[in-house]
Symmetry: C2
Subunit: 489 residues, 2 copies
């Protein structure tokens, strides 16, 4: 069978890739580094979008849409920003092709006066626009989000985790005061945390990035960090306090209540299709995807096992009663009574696709008044009375959701270590992987040297972190708290 | 007041532009030809998306996502397609910028081996992908839709109607037989028709395009044509039967039930943010937008008229009962009790924004137990008992919806003419504008000459058209049916 997945113990990276492709989440495309998101993968992304969009609106944000292209000169206006993105920009230089006897060429007469950059992120074009929208304190706060595609040219790509083009949302807000902007940045970090934990069943640690890991142009970058099953960290969302950097670069001022002109304060925040990679790597196993019921396109698949039309008709009747209740309860299900494939093939297929619960029902089950219930996360099965099956399924969906979170949390606990010396630190990273909590002297130099040495980076300085005296594992200089080091995606 | 709109009788084009900008639907951006869709405009587009997406799913389609970029060589594979799009392609030639002492430049060392085109439409990249997805008749039909941004470089742009970048959906389906593909193309035209008429309150005529107006690469282009208030036509959606052109260009074959290899049959179909322009120009007036309740972000605005907190508290209490019912009934409303602006300012603002119904409630109304109801489409007002206001509002929303459709239909009837001679034809176009039903000899030459002469194009050959003997108005050659000529957006 071509759908066999490389076991993760054998080759974690190949396991991930097999899974994404064989479960029908995404494909490589003919364009280097760009992926195709297939219908099943896109259905999960659509659910993520719907939930996040609802959370953004509930916190007062509106959606809008800004141009795909950014004039090159805009990038030059914020120094840190251009340094951060210049090396990965797709650049549009011409606006016409031309058929010639030698074939289709780029028309040399259609060269743009100023090159356009395909947005890698939209701070510059948006703040250039905000200049026209903000005059007075009455126009603030401006709370806007955009769902969009962005392009960051990458040489080494991996489906969902690192692609040249990806889909994301980017919030861009404008505020009258520094304090308000910081509150906003933290609030959106909380929204991301709730989404990760409640909807993805994925525990995360909230923190701030070190100066060298900050978003290009931010004064503070907040992040949530999750641990994948191989112990590596994955940054699942970021929220930036941008200070007045972009307001100054694009000259966006407002008249405050006292009639004084001031620069506006800014935040931006985003999550992307990278979350799909995080979802896969947090819960899945060697049989395929394991999806939390909250995000699964289908929460239940029902498979009839029958010989002949008469048996199928009897099963259909029982199933139609069950699905009626599912409809009323908002349970997402699929009844797969097609005869292209055998029940065994279907069992394997829906396990691969991570459907949380499988119900199988055959002639003998009808006689006994039972149904076979298979649970994807634990891969256990049991027979359950048809009477009341709907409630049983609903409870089991909740259990699965809770169990997935717990398992992920346990994994993180088991793979979190304290290191007090550099030797210890390196040994843990070599032998155990995971998160290493260690003291650090707060300098970029030390951070850089540890990274060069071990490939581990500081994932975050946790919020509300325990304060304790200690010594930097590398320099021995004094430190007041441990930070989280890990190898990361 | 800066929100005054140029009357449409004075300058229709300026009226449209004023309206789009002043009602907060969209803005010009710093990138030539690209627009910014502002929150209010985007909220309408989101409702359009949600409704259309539901209709696509109800007809069996799934969403997916394909790359933004298309390798140049892909375009060359379908001859008609490249001819149609080569002249308006944004071309990515480099993938890096570089900071130099002279400023930020495109890094000459980062030139792509093959240039990438920002998709103007996705047939080529999608059919290149489908090659890997389709092997057997069991893989068909493949019914996929994509929501995306596309770029067609335009020199003369107008907000929503013609922009270099726009948002749209593009359906791309693959079928085992010609007949099935034709049925699909016609089915999606029906979906668009239902959307236009039921959700936009905009009557449309279904038809096919002439050969010269067909989509580049299609064997048949179906379209819906609407009439704007100035009598011009606007193509509101198209659905294409692509035959086997793209399957042949990208070598997409399947094994049929008999085990024989055949090329796949294709359709594609799309509507775009152009519909926003159609919506504005179908219903709006000199006071601002007029939105059909089905698509209005807010269907009702409630404005309290009060002096002091005590009066406001009394009004709040009454309003909260009304809005509770609105919530239960799914009526979208806004209660604007902010005191930034006067009631008069608010009245004008929500008229400008096209909110279908305005409820104003003051202290005297409370005494009398009535509420002032203002209807945006007719600009009439009346006092209505508070008791039962919810039902009254719901009925009025339905009436508005029906009335908008009727008014648009009347406009179209009053501006549809038959012309039997070329003199008559030209006179109508000069003096009356609108749709002109006339006989045509079926040749592209005649079509072209009439266009050069009068700027009118054949908008469509209506489906189920009345068959009648006649003579081409231009060439005098025999014709079996009238087609619709008009000047168009």
């Amino acid at each position: 069978m071509s759908k066999v997945i490389t076991p993760k113990e054998q080759d974690y990276s190949q396991w991930y890739n097999d899974l994404v492709i064989k479960a029908g989440l995404a494909d490589h495309s003919a364009v280097k580094g760009c992926m195709v998101i297939k219908p099943y993968g896109y259905a999960i992304w659509e659910r993520m979008q719907a939930v996040l969009d609802g959370m953004f609106k509930a916190t007062g944000h509106s959606n809008a849409y800004f141009p795909l292209f950014i004039p090159k000169s805009f990038f030059a206006k914020e120094a840190a920003h251009v340094d951060g993105f210049a090396k990965e920009c797709a650049v549009v230089t011409h606006y016409r092709l031309k058929n010639t006897p030698e074939g289709l060429i780029v028309d040399p007469d259609a060269k743009l006066d100023e090159e356009l950059i395909v947005r890698p992120t939209s701070e510059t074009i948006i703040w250039n626009t905000y200049k026209g929208w903000i005059q007075s304190y009455r126009d603030l706060p401006l709370l806007i989000n955009q769902w969009a595609n962005v392009v960051r040219w990458e040489m080494r790509t991996r489906l969902f985790l690192r692609t040249a083009e990806f889909l994301w949302q980017e919030g861009h807000t404008a505020h009258a005061t520094q304090q308000e902007a910081i509150v906003e940045a933290e609030k959106m970090l909380d929204v991301y945390t709730e989404f990760a934990e409640k909807w993805m069943s994925m525990p995360v640690i909230k923190g701030t990035k070190t100066a060298s890991e900050r978003f290009a142009g931010a004064l503070e970058t907040y992040c949530i960090e999750a641990m994948m099953q191989d112990g590596k960290a994955l940054q699942a969302g970021t929220s930036h306090f941008l200070g007045q950097n972009f307001a100054k670069a694009f000259d966006v001022k407002f008249l405050n209540k006292e009639g004084k002109s001031e620069h506006v304060w800014a935040t931006s925040w985003g999550v992307s299709t990278r979350l799909m990679g995080a979802l896969v790597m947090t819960h899945s196993d060697n049989e395929g995807l394991v999806l939390p019921p909250q995000l699964a396109p289908q929460q239940v698949v029902i498979i009839p096992i029958y010989k002949g039309d008469e048996q199928l008709a009897q099963i259909n009747e029982v199933v139609s009663k069950i699905t009626k209740t599912f409809d009323a309860d908002g349970v997402r299900y699929k009844y797969d009574s097609t005869d292209h494939h055998s029940p065994g093939w279907k069992f394997a297929e829906y396990e691969l696709k991570g459907v949380p619960i499988r119900l199988a029902i055959g002639a003998r089950d009808l006689e006994k008044g039972t149904i076979e219930v298979h649970r994807r996360d634990t891969r256990t099965k049991q027979f359950v009375p048809i009477e009341g099956i709907e409630k049983f399924v609903k409870n089991m969906l909740d259990e699965i959701s809770t169990n997935l979170y717990k398992k992920a949390e346990e994994l993180r606990t088991n793979n979190s270590h304290k290191a007090n010396t550099y030797e210890e630190f390196k040994e843990i990273l070599d032998k155990k992987s995971g998160f290493v909590w260690a003291h650090w002297d707060g300098t970029s130099e030390t951070e850089e040297k540890i990274k060069d040495d071990t490939k581990a980076t500081i994932r975050c300085i946790p919020l509300n972190n325990t304060q304790e005296e200690g010594k930097c594992i590398y320099s021995g200089k004094p430190s007041k708290q441990r930070v989280i080091f890990a190898k990361a995606y």
